[in-house]
């Protein structure tokens, strides 16, 4: 399969990009064990002090919490072993992480902290043990009393193309999802549970109790703002979050993990991901969080050549990484390998005002005009006059751009810069 989709012969209509359906016959996910040390990325807040080097050498058990910043955030060790190194790791858009390297010990020992409380599920226990789990459930959102969550949306669909991770979870782990939904309802104020699935598959999940809602197969209908507007009839005001309207989106895998955690008393540490080869062939893999992606690729025998791109996530919204040692993270839905020749080159060509982006934009933004402001760095004007904050970051504008302008990158950068400016302003106020 070619990674650069050509325009159809007759190109009047909008591009038909459809979500990939879970193959009818799917092999069980390949279980992958890390061959060497694992690396966890621990977000460092800007005000964090130096990395506490004293932690090096400490032993950790599988499922044990690790907190380095003292702000309540933590990571969960996916293996039993000793902390081998703590190094600063720069992320994109100014984020900085501490990379925690853990050398596994031969004997695996499970942490028993959750064991003590798992019989009596509580929101406190969930927030305390499962917040860094697979799918990053974002449990703190349920604990926010100022914005009570009324509706839990379980995403059994994937948000990017080629990926079928969540579809697999929905079809294979119904029991865990069922448990997870029951527990989440029990421990929080959730009144309604909606399960998102593919439109054709709405009838196929009798084993899960909840309101099934079918999502259109055309990209980007599965993105939360479009689900809110199209399926729930609740248009998200630009710049606001679903939580402010009382909705909480959680991946099927996150819900299943919560269900499994409370029934077994063990913190889940494995992440399911779709591995997509250069030719478009895809397989499912299950690996402990922190496994270097080189181990995953080696397991499947995927050869990497100089100049290839490795994308965490799908082709429309993923993030390219610069190292094969990059770890599988709790929110790594897919691993996409792109051949050097297949990847898109951006250009420095100006906008020719063809209007393709305007017609393709699901948020109905005036991208042809917006991009002129963004190129000039005029971010505040871009937001005031041209609805920068309405963008749902689907990437379709860049996908259709005749001039190959990296529009999504401009937009993301502008949003980041505006947020940074506002933070600085509020600190100085």
């Amino acid at each position: 399969m070619r990674m650069t989709k050509s325009k159809p012969l007759w190109g009047m209509g909008r591009p038909r990009l459809e979500y990939t359906q879970l193959p009818a016959r799917t092999d069980r996910p390949e279980s992958i064990r890390p061959t060497g040390p694992v690396t966890l990325l621990h977000l460092r807040p800007a005000e964090a002090k130096a990395i506490p080097a004293a932690k090096i050498g400490e032993t950790v058990k599988t499922g044990q919490k690790l907190s380095l910043c003292g702000n309540g955030d933590y990571i969960t060790s996916p293996v039993t072993g000793a902390i081998a190194a703590l190094t600063p790791f720069p992320g994109s858009f100014g984020r900085s992480y501490t990379a925690v390297t853990i050398a596994p010990a031969p004997q695996e020992v499970f942490d028993d902290a959750l064991q003590a409380v798992h019989q009596t599920p509580s929101l406190a226990a969930a927030v305390d043990f499962l917040a860094a789990g697979p799918g990053l459930p974002g449990l703190h959102r349920l604990a926010d009393t100022e914005r009570p969550i009324k509706t839990l949306v379980v995403c059994g669909v994937d948000q990017d193309l080629l990926v079928f991770t969540q579809q697999y979870v929905l079809s294979a782990r119904g029991h865990d999802i069922q448990n997870g939904i029951r527990i989440l309802k029990q421990i929080s104020g959730i009144e309604e549970v909606v399960i998102l699935t593919r439109k054709e598959a709405v009838q196929g999940f009798g084993h899960i109790v909840g309101r099934m809602v079918g999502v259109d197969q055309r990209y980007p209908s599965a993105l939360p703002p479009l689900v809110m507007a199209g399926l729930f009839g609740r248009v998200l005001p630009a710049g606001r979050t679903c939580e402010e309207l009382g909705f909480c989106f959680m991946s099927a895998e996150a819900v299943a993990s919560i269900g499994a955690a409370f029934s077994t008393g063990r913190v889940p540490v494995n992440k399911l991901l779709t591995v997509i080869y250069k030719d478009g062939f895809a397989r499912l893999a299950e690996a402990p969080i922190g496994t270097p992606i080189s181990d995953v690729l080696k397991h499947f025998g995927v050869g990497i050549a100089e100049g290839d791109r490795i994308v965490i996530g799908g082709p429309m919204r993923g993030t390219a990484v610069f190292s094969l040692e990059h770890p599988v993270q709790p929110d790594t839905e897919a691993l996409l390998v792109l051949d050097a020749e297949a990847a898109v080159q951006v250009s420095e060509y100006p906008c020719i005002n063809c209007g393709e982006c305007v017609r393709v934009c699901p948020a109905r933004m005036q991208i042809n005009l917006l991009v002129r402001y963004l190129e000039a760095g005029k971010y505040e004007e871009a937001e005031e006059a041209y609805d920068l904050d309405a963008c749902i970051e689907c990437g379709l504008c860049s996908y259709v751009c005749v001039s190959k302008i990296p529009i999504l990158q401009y937009i993301t950068l502008a949003k980041h810069e505006l947020a940074r400016m506002r933070r600085t302003e509020s600190l100085n106020a």
Binding site: T4, K5, S6, W10, G11, M12, P15, P225, A229, V235, L236, P237, A238, I304, E306, G307, R309, I310, P315, M316, R317, G318, T319, A320, F322, S323, L324, L336, L338, A343, V344, V346, E348, Y349, P350, I352, N353, C354, G355, E356, V358, R359, A363, R364, M365, Q366, N368, L369, A390, I392, G395, L396, Y399, V400, C401, V402, K404, P406, L408, Q409
Partner: protein, 319 residues
């Protein structure tokens, strides 16, 4: 990490639909060729000379300007060749070489590059050039004067000029089929309605131009011409005559649809097309020029930024 391979990092999305400016230019040239080749058949080698000189000089002006201004060389994208071809198609076959070269200078340098080059021109470059030539060398651009030495097997008068001078009775013998098939006097590439129509439909189907602009253009033209015709049939020609003569079909499919100077939203495209089409008829019927369609296009270009203010509310925006 000893055997670390160097990976390339870029921003999402990692897919692209494969569209390119060069492809669009190629499609437009391809779509214009049937009408242009018909003009060469009808007007002979001089027409070929004008077209070839227009395209080549446009490309050379573009190359020269980008070199002098130290801009990235952009002739490879084909947009200069498109402007050259469209400009040449509107000319009389006998226009002297110096006028052609001046025209492409006006189109490429004055109407486009000094505004910033590709995508930055507020007006259609080919229309600007033809408009200036019409004002500067009136006789050279007059089809009746320019083509006086040709012997045609159809009425050898520019139909719009005949109507303007003698009323609609002067053209009542012209058959619409003849006009549509190119048996009329006019610009090299603008006389063959069938070729222009086919090219235009091809561009619409290919997604290079939008159907809204040509359709509203022709509708605006037909309605305005119809009103005139109804009020005074002896003086004003019928809508069908207006649609099939002069630069009408060429303007609808090739001039008004130019990317940079036309709107992109649905309602603005409809208004823009209708305004250009009706102003073109106004100029023909009560203006100075027998064929002032390029001026109508320029007026449309002028109001384009205003029109694009009519836009749908973005997702999640109220008030």
């Amino acid at each position: 990490m000893p055997d670390q391979k160097k990976l390339v990092v870029s921003f999402a999305p990692f897919w692209h639909n494969g569209s390119r400016i060069t492809d669009r230019s190629r499609q437009i040239i391809l779509a214009g060729l049937p009408a242009a080749l018909y003009g060469v058949y009808r007007f002979g080698i001089p027409a070929l000379g004008v077209l070839a000189l227009a395209v080549s000089s446009a490309v050379l002006w573009e190359l020269a300007f980008t070199r002098v201004a130290k801009r990235p060389v952009s002739v490879g994208d084909g947009t200069a060749a498109v402007i050259g071809l469209l400009f040449g198609m509107m000319l009389p076959a006998t226009l002297p070489w110096w006028a052609v070269i001046t025209g492409t200078f006006l189109a490429i340098v004055v109407a486009r590059q000094i505004y910033g080059g590709v995508g930055a021109n507020p007006f259609n470059p080919a229309a600007v050039a033809v408009a200036i030539l019409m004002l500067a060398w009136k006789e050279r651009m007059d089809f009746d004067t320019a083509l006086v030495n040709y012997a045609f097997d159809f009425p050898a008068a520019f139909p719009l000029a005949a109507v303007k001078a003698f009323g609609s009775g002067a053209v009542k013998d012209l058959s619409f089929a003849d006009l549509f098939l190119g048996r009329q006097v006019g610009g090299i590439g603008t006389i063959c309605g069938a070729g222009l129509f086919a090219g235009g439909v091809y561009l619409i189907l290919k997604g290079v131009i939008r159907w809204e602009i040509p359709v509203s253009f022709l509708a605006g033209m037909a309605v305005t011409a119809g009103i005139f015709h109804a009020t005074d049939p002896a003086r004003f020609a019928s809508p069908a005559f207006h649609l099939l003569t002069g630069f009408s079909l060429f303007g609808a499919f090739f001039l008004a649809t130019e990317d940079s100077s036309s709107p992109v939203n649905f309602i603005p495209m409809l208004i823009y097309g209708a305004v250009v089409g009706s102003i073109a008829v106004l100029i023909r019927n009560i203006g100075v020029f027998a064929e002032g369609l390029v001026f109508a296009v320029l007026v449309g270009n002028l109001i384009q930024p205003l029109l694009d203010k009519i836009r749908p509310k973005a997702l999640g925006k109220v008030g």
